[in-house]
Symmetry: C3
Subunit: 127 residues, 3 copies
């Protein structure tokens, strides 16, 4: 159910991009109970100048290796679950992909359960 | 007012992509009363490996022909309207574009009416 | 904290795209108090036919110079702040980038404060 968009600057291989997707997905599975097979992601690499990031906002030093992760998911996660998710994404991308934790930017967008269809035109998660 | 993002793998022609956009728009018009001229869409085709989907989640068999449809729209649609929208998107993409219904993934993101400007810097739908 | 996606048709230079990003950011800073260094944007240029817009919806005449601006930001802005933001985006893109105000399409997506991490896996804005 999560729909994950990962945006980076060009320079990573397709395999490295796939590893970013793997890492974000593992964080979702480990921290907020997303099923392992519930994986839908768009991985996009942008030319120089087309992914804009501040190199220092909140005194966090970012580099062109920055990874923007936008996750659309169903409502219902607690503050603690969200904190755990943020932490796991940064930790796993560092451990598995060599991403600096400072370079991991995350945004969650929450929607109602009936706002998903996984195929066949049915809202499988609707109440 | 809906802003529709359609993401697929490379392989469809621009005409086939346009037909996907046509089909999603027709579903919006027919099921939730979107005006025919209220159409804004971004159609993106991604290289292999950059659109990730589970081939079997919820026992729905997906292929590389998968179509991810993310629709941002105003709050206020009922559960029944959303169900009708999901069904119509899958039905129309199958009938008009030859997309397998299993390959149609849909996500709705809802926002307030004042969160739109259709031009001139005015929030035309604000209360 | 805002995550801004700007989508246009191909034809603008990277410098012109950057100026669009500059303009949207300045509008955010001037109208809703976004810190100047809080800037994260994805600027995408699409081939002909892959950014679809109605040329006349609501009697606003749009051209292929249309600029779709989708801004994900935290909840909490008033109707008046949103109106000011819409107006400023159109005004600044016209003044600084020569964009016709009719060609500026804006959508805001609002999320909870804990739905952001600016690095290091921490939800810096969580309550």
């Amino acid at each position: 159910m999560p729909l994950v968009r990962i945006d980076v600057l060009e320079g990573r291989t397709t395999g490295e991009l796939a590893a970013l997707g793997d890492g974000v997905h593992r964080a979702l599975v480990e921290t907020i109970g997303i099923p392992a097979a519930d994986r839908f992601q768009v991985l996009a690499a942008h030319p120089a100048g087309r992914l804009v990031f501040d190199p220092n906002y909140l005194d966090i030093v970012r580099t062109p290796g920055v990874v923007l992760v936008q996750i659309t998911l169903s409502l219902g996660r607690s503050l603690e679950q969200k904190r755990a998710l943020h932490a796991a994404v940064a930790r796993i991308l560092a451990a598995d992909c060599g991403v600096r934790p400072e370079d991991v930017f995350i945004n969650l967008v929450e929607v109602a359960k009936e706002n998903w269809s996984f195929g066949n035109g049915i809202a499988q998660y609707a109440p």
